[in-house]
């Protein structure tokens, strides 16, 4: 038995992770910055950001994310006097790092045969993928609490505490709403779940429609975006990142987008058939199948992001007690009921 790992496997895994974090994560996050501005503008009868130009070419304002990045990178990195030094710098890294890990654990594609060997298109293939992603998402809240605590600002601390309470309330629903469908799939592996759906031609949303809506709601709450943006609450307390400037603030902004992408990716994998396209056997199609897998997965994810963005610009922010009521008194009992009912049905079916 040999423990030596072939070099090209390491390189391929590194390339996959790079693709997930940079190719999918950073690109879509930047793109979402544009979508956020333009979509909200068009639905509110406005035009939206359209001034950033390169040699007079504005391209519908698509250069604004680039202008944002340049601005954030060149701004002064201001650390206030009362801040607790190392923690202040560590907080955005924890937030962003957790979100990045989640991105790399998503199944962008299955295994395809190409040039004489099988290529697994999932960057980090884990048999415990689902709980690990949920754990990493939950761990991201440490970054927020740390940021609020280390800022030495009451507003920051208030935002952090709100963030912690909200995360606890909704992480529970997030995990328990998935319990039913994972019970049916009989696996904690994203890839296995996608294969289950692909082999039967039956998507998770048809099997567990209630779980889909519960997870979508709880997921929207976990991304800390409106109508669940209590930790940020820019119109009242500005929130946990009030004492951050420059790219550290940018990292928190990116975390929000990354988490949206992750939530949409998890929904795609577990409820919308993952990379599968109905009527096509992608795993037998070689390199073309691999491309189609990634395109299909990212496409479904983008559609969900579009829906979340529309929700974000439609609904007003919840009051804090309404938010906790929704989480603890409505979503959690519903998701537990869903799980118990599923368990009974599966038991009786067998």
């Amino acid at each position: 038995m040999s423990f030596a790992i072939p070099l090209n496997d390491v390189l391929f895994t590194a390339a996959k992770i790079l693709f997930a974090v940079v190719g999918v994560g950073l690109n879509i996050a930047g793109f979402l910055g544009w979508v956020e501005r333009k979509q909200s503008a068009v639905m509110q009868d406005r035009i939206g950001a359209n001034r950033a130009s390169i040699f007079g070419v504005t391209l519908l304002g698509l250069f604004h994310p680039i202008a944002d990045a340049i601005k954030l990178l060149t701004k002064e990195d201001f650390v206030p006097k009362g801040a607790r030094g190392p923690l202040h710098g560590l907080a955005p890294m924890i937030s962003l790092g957790c979100a990045m890990f989640c991105l790399a654990a998503l199944p962008y594609g299955g295994a395809v045969q190409f040039s004489g060997r099988a290529w697994d298109l999932q960057p980090i293939a884990l048999s415990m993928g689902v709980p690990l992603v949920l754990a990493a998402l939950a761990f991201g809240v440490h970054g927020i609490v740390m940021a609020g605590y280390a800022s030495g600002s009451n507003y920051g601390l208030l935002g952090a505490l709100r963030g912690a309470a909200q995360m606890i309330a909704y992480e529970v629903c997030l995990a328990s709403s998935l319990a039913g469908i994972l019970f049916i799939y009989g696996t904690l592996d994203f890839q296995e779940a996608v294969l289950w759906q692909a082999s039967r031609g039956l998507w998770g949303i048809a099997v567990q429609p209630l779980a889909f809506f519960l997870f979508l709601t709880a997921g929207a709450a976990v991304t800390k975006r409106a109508p669940f943006d209590l930790p940020e609450g820019e119109s009242e307390i500005v929130g946990y990142h009030i004492e951050y400037s420059g790219m550290k603030f940018g990292m928190f902004m990116m975390t929000d987008f990354f988490e949206s992408i992750v939530i949409c990716g998890v929904i795609t994998a577990l409820f919308l058939g993952g990379w599968a396209i109905p009527g096509l056997d992608l795993q037998a199609m070689g390199a073309l199948g691999g491309l189609l897998m990634v395109a299909s997965f990212v496409g479904k994810m983008m559609l969900l992001l579009f829906l979340l963005m529309q929700l974000r610009w439609t609904l007003p922010r919840f009051r804090f007690d309404q938010l906790l009521d929704l989480g603890w008194k409505n979503l959690l009992p519903l998701s537990l009921l869903n799980f118990i009912a599923t368990a009974w049905v599966v038991y009786l079916w067998r």
């Binding site: 068009v42 509110q44 009868d45």
Partner: protein, 180 residues
């Protein structure tokens, strides 16, 4: 007409509104309708097909002129009598009532004995003005109006914010200085 009171019934909290999902759906229907209708109108404009309403109500301000209401309260303007002399009699009522203390008037004897007094200098510091319009209301001889329809008043120095009498009368154009 007498003031009437119309009692508005408090909207009932039915089960449909309580579970919120129906209301979310209705809200989404509104925003999606706006999104797709506006996208269609933008697309028609981009393709050059006429006959559709504009996709947005935005006025692209620096390129398109600012649209001011007919009664908009804008920059001050000093008025003249029929013989071309300024109407101002330097009574200092505007200077007195001004809450921002932005008006400075020095008076002198007027050659016209019927008028007796006139303004030698009349300066308004628009950097201090709060655009309340009290000066217009206080003026007994209708010498000052705030209807110059000019809102682009910014300048590179505080000194440039002070408008003197010929500029307010419209006899001289204000020449702003460039960046320091």
């Amino acid at each position: 007409m007498a003031i009437t009171v119309r009692a508005v019934a408090r909207p009932a909290r039915t089960f449909a509104t309580q579970i919120y999902l129906v209301e979310v759906w209705r809200g989404l229907a509104v925003t999606f309708r706006h999104l797709f209708v506006n996208l269609f109108r933008h697309a028609m404009k981009a393709l050059g097909i006429r006959g559709f309403l504009p996709g947005s109500v935005t006025i692209q301000y620096p390129e398109d002129p600012a649209v001011l209401g007919k009664r908009a309260r804008t920059r001050h303007r000093l008025l003249k009598r029929d013989d071309g002399a300024p109407r101002c009699t330097a009574c200092l009522l505007c200077e007195t009532i001004c809450p921002a203390k932005c008006i400075r008037i020095t008076a002198e004897n007027a050659p016209d004995v019927a008028v007796e007094k006139r303004a030698k200098t009349f300066d308004i510091d628009l950097g201090m003005c709060v655009f309340c319009g009290y000066c217009v209301e206080a003026c007994p001889v209708d010498a000052i109006h705030m209807d110059a329809d000019d809102v682009e008043l910014s300048s590179y120095s505080r000194q440039d914010m002070i408008w003197n009498m010929p500029e307010l009368l419209g006899d001289k154009t204000k020449v702003p200085s460039g960046p320091a």
